[in-house]
Symmetry: C2
DNA sequence: TCGCATCCTGACCGTATGGTCAATACGAAG
DNA sequence: CTTCGTATTGACCATACGGTCAGGATGCGA
């Protein structure tokens, strides 16, 4: 029924806007609350207050707390996977890994809440995204490991175990989001400035690129 | 009243054993449950079941859930600080950082639950250990930064920002505990073997030591 | 055996939370 | 103005949870 579909889409143009806007509002609030309180510590009431909506309205858009949480985790996972593009099409480790570190540090700065939700989800045994780990993430990882191995074979870097290099990249970049509070405390209670973020990115990139013998 | 104190200590020798044993039992169960479910998701009932004690008994030894949680976090913090000794008295970065990485990887393997509880606590804004961060951790960090800076001045390693090097050490080593489930999933669902732990430690050590120009 | 401190625990309570629902408001189309 | 699908919301409910408490068990010293 292309007709009714089109009509419905046209007719509900305004309504669709409301739906999208409210869903976005709720998802942003949820991301923050889940990150700061954890799944168990987060309450629908708190998310509702932060989104400026009555609690019952949340259940109109998301049937359960778990469904809302699931969407938040999925959103993060997609953002996170997008950074993969920085890795691809690079001639060697200096460009590829350099770009990847920069992209991931950028995500840590722009989506600290999302990174924390992801970290907590994995720490709890990945109850809702286990299948993603086993399919998408595993495939992604194997693909990049192959790329790194090729660089090694081509003599563009030292013979490092690609797996542990990837873990190191993830750990180091995500640390600036997940442990942002600790870093801030050790920075005299101040959030990192633009300059400090640049220095952090630079330090990480330098140590790793030199560490794998690409410089 | 040293007399009564001594008498009491002697008389309750057996009782003290019971107390210590039960507290340890509860703390171990709590560490596991807090790590797997988070503070909000953990229930006293679940901890009690895992410890093999009735719930009311938990409240006999620990007045509140928060008090129990606080003890768990403090325990981890102490274990974690002990790894500092590996850092001290080292002639240079190869010995010092090498030993530190080995010690921290060992902690990640032996106390994965503790590491996760610590990570979650920091991610939530360190509600119960903020003062530790501002005092003990800050002092510890500044001390090690000075050591690293000295090594740099002595030409034993490249001029890396000591702060970001420390963050990198923490991030990388703790990743093997905090994201252990993800690592396991990417390892065909198998926990890392002795050999794989050794390889991981070796990879991390190699990349970092080469990355800071100490090799 | 008795007294006493420690330890144990089933039953209970107040509260907070996720979720439901019926009633209502809204707004576009005809 | 009427109709109808969508969006809104206050009131409500069942449940689960942290915490309490009174009564009892245990075991050691005198």
């Amino acid at each position: 029924m292309p007709d009714t579909a089109r009509i419905s889409r046209i007719r509900s143009g305004r309504r669709t806007d409301i739906r999208q806007q409210n869903e976005r509002l709720i998802l942003e609030a949820a991301e923050r609350v889940f990150a700061e309180a954890g799944f168990g510590g987060a309450t629908m009431q708190l998310i509702a207050d932060m989104a400026g909506l009555p609690k019952a309205n949340l259940h109109y858009y998301f049937p359960t707390k778990e469904a809302l949480y699931r969407r938040v985790v999925q959103n993060i996972f997609e953002i996170w996977l997008d950074a993969a593009s920085s890795f691809d099409g690079a001639a060697g480790p200096v460009e590829g890994i350099g770009a990847y570190v920069r992209a991931k540090m950028d995500i840590s700065r722009r989506h600290p809440h999302g990174s924390k939700v992801w970290a907590a989800e994995v720490m709890h045994g990945a109850p809702v995204i286990q299948d993603y780990l086993e399919t998408t993430l595993r495939a992604w990882t194997e693909g990049r490991m192959a790329v790194i191995q090729r660089w090694i074979d081509e003599g563009k870097m030292a013979p490092i175990d690609p797996r542990h290099l990837l873990y190191m990249l993830w750990a180091t970049t995500q640390h600036y989001a997940d442990f942002g509070h600790q870093i801030e405390t050790l920075n005299a209670g101040e959030a990192l400035s633009d300059r400090q973020w640049r220095e952090a990115t630079e330090s990480v990139t330098q140590i790793i690129l030199r560490g794998i013998g690409a410089i």
